[in-house]
Symmetry: C2
Subunit: 333 residues, 2 copies
Amino acid sequence: VATVSRALLNYPQVNASTRARVVRAVRTLGYIPNRAAQSLVVRATQTLGLLIPDATDPMHGQFVAGFEEEAAAHDYTVFVGNGRKRADRERRALELFVMQRADGVTLIGSVLRQREVRALLRPSPAIFVNGEHPGLAGYRTDLATGCLRADDAAGVTAAVEHLLAMGCRRFAYAGGLGTASDITRRQAAIHALRRAAGRLRRLRTYAAMPGAPGSDAELAAAIAADGMDAVLCYDDKLAVSLLAALRARRLSVPDQIAVVGFDDIPFAKLSNPSLTTVAQPSVEMGRRAAAMVLEALRMGRLPASARLPVSLVIRGSSARSIPHAPAPSRARP
Amino acid sequence: VATVSRALLNYPQVNASTRARVVRAVRTLGYIPNRAAQSLVVRATQTLGLLIPDATDPMHGQFVAGFEEEAAAHDYTVFVGNGRKRADRERRALELFVMQRADGVTLIGSVLRQREVRALLRPSPAIFVNGEHPGLAGYRTDLATGCLRADDAAGVTAAVEHLLAMGCRRFAYAGGLGTASDITRRQAAIHALRRAAGRLRRLRTYAAMPGAPGSDAELAAAIAADGMDAVLCYDDKLAVSLLAALRARRLSVPDQIAVVGFDDIPFAKLSNPSLTTVAQPSVEMGRRAAAMVLEALRMGRLPASARLPVSLVIRGSSARSIPHAPAPSRARP
DNA sequence: CTGAAAGCGCTAACAG
DNA sequence: CTGTTAGCGCTTTCAG
């Protein structure tokens, strides 16, 4: 049995002919090693835990795809847990990961406190992607290691500058979930408006309740009633719903009102009008996050936190005939 | 140690005060049992494997959400593997599941042969959801147990009848991946046209290459050139892309051409025009699939195969002013 | 009711 | 190079 183990693990010290016999026997018997037993002795399970807030969201689907790909390439299997943005569900999922002794875990959009999670998971590494605990607003308080972020503020700034260049003057922000990225995006918009155009530019905030029936219609009505001519949406899902609601009110986008989303989900370029948005490299972030856990496992310590660049993708929902200046940097046609 | 085990597993034969002491100690020590060790002795891992073809697809995201929810409710953790519609990747993912000794596995949209999978996974139960092995076309060859299907043919039939009632006469089918559901949907359309309108009605098939750049534009061009007035799409993703491509050609939907999709992904109702489609209860199917594996585990044998009803959701992409008859059953406004 | 002992399937240290 | 032995963390007899 020890020889079989060594042969299968490609230890050099097995005779070639012995190894051949082992391989043959394994094949005819259809033997597949039991990882639970292996893990008991090597103290590693070759599994990674991945906690997502909502499997239904296209952005997370892409993230999962990238993550799973990278993990599988290194022979790791991935557990997924759906946290549904609720602290109790997230904790429960993490506990399951611990019971399974996942070698490392990655949390995307988690609402939990990072220190709490690290303590719970210790000594396994925890990687945070776009952490959403409200205390993280502004992203200054992300831990120094093991955190991955899209640079939301830069994206929003680019979006605001673009909209200003397009001649927009009355800015709305639709969001209000109160999560870190919601707060951060809104703040970034406020700062960008101040910087660009003095204190006169106000940003009016509208609360969106995703999923609530009729809420998009109300949102569109309020924005229209207030005479806004640009709306920055928390994410593409919201932006696309808003597009539909504005259409229902016969408000023309982008002529009467420009709409910008966030994420660049696959559907963004297919909507009508196509959606201007801040693109996050979701698949790439998934791959990168998996790579970070694996690195932590290999090195025995967490890699430094990183902030990934985003890019403004200008499309039909904001592209009116240009009044003064051309659109700013980083845009694809 | 034995007593602790018994206390934690709620064996009746432990003294209440002893149990209390155990619980207290467990809490202060932060002890969490090791499932790998448990599974070694109880020969069950409390894990389920889930193989999906593409984590990026909204329909699969919804399925995963339902599946994970049901599994978590029964204290099972789920492994996901991304098969990318390639037999070799699927086999690799299944092998990982076997190594982890997942108690049961579910395959959605798998291109593998069901018997091969069952053999590979034996004795663990395998549940097939919308199996896509080409030999499954028509769905007559699904195994008698452990298969779950949406009733694609019924959905397509309803769609065709609806389009005929709307006055459409020149039908196109866009698809051609060659998978079971692709073939089945196309065949169902052909039969529905024959039955409804004699042999004169032809269904013209167009090959769509999802993801290939420019392919949607070519598809739209071909359909337009042939003067089609209705197109049944393999799925919503394709339908929504086609909508964008038709728009780019300034073809008006639904006036010049009606478009119908399949799945009812969340964006179907948000597209412009909103998309008429055959709705699959994706989340529910995920829950149901998980319930089927769990039942198989409980009963020791596979539950009977089932076919779930679908419903035609009529929306803007097919709703021209009605020429003769009102739209058929099962529609939402 | 509780402790001691065996053993789940495997890897690693140790002889030979 | 290969077999023997111990032991990973747990559950389940088996005694007491």
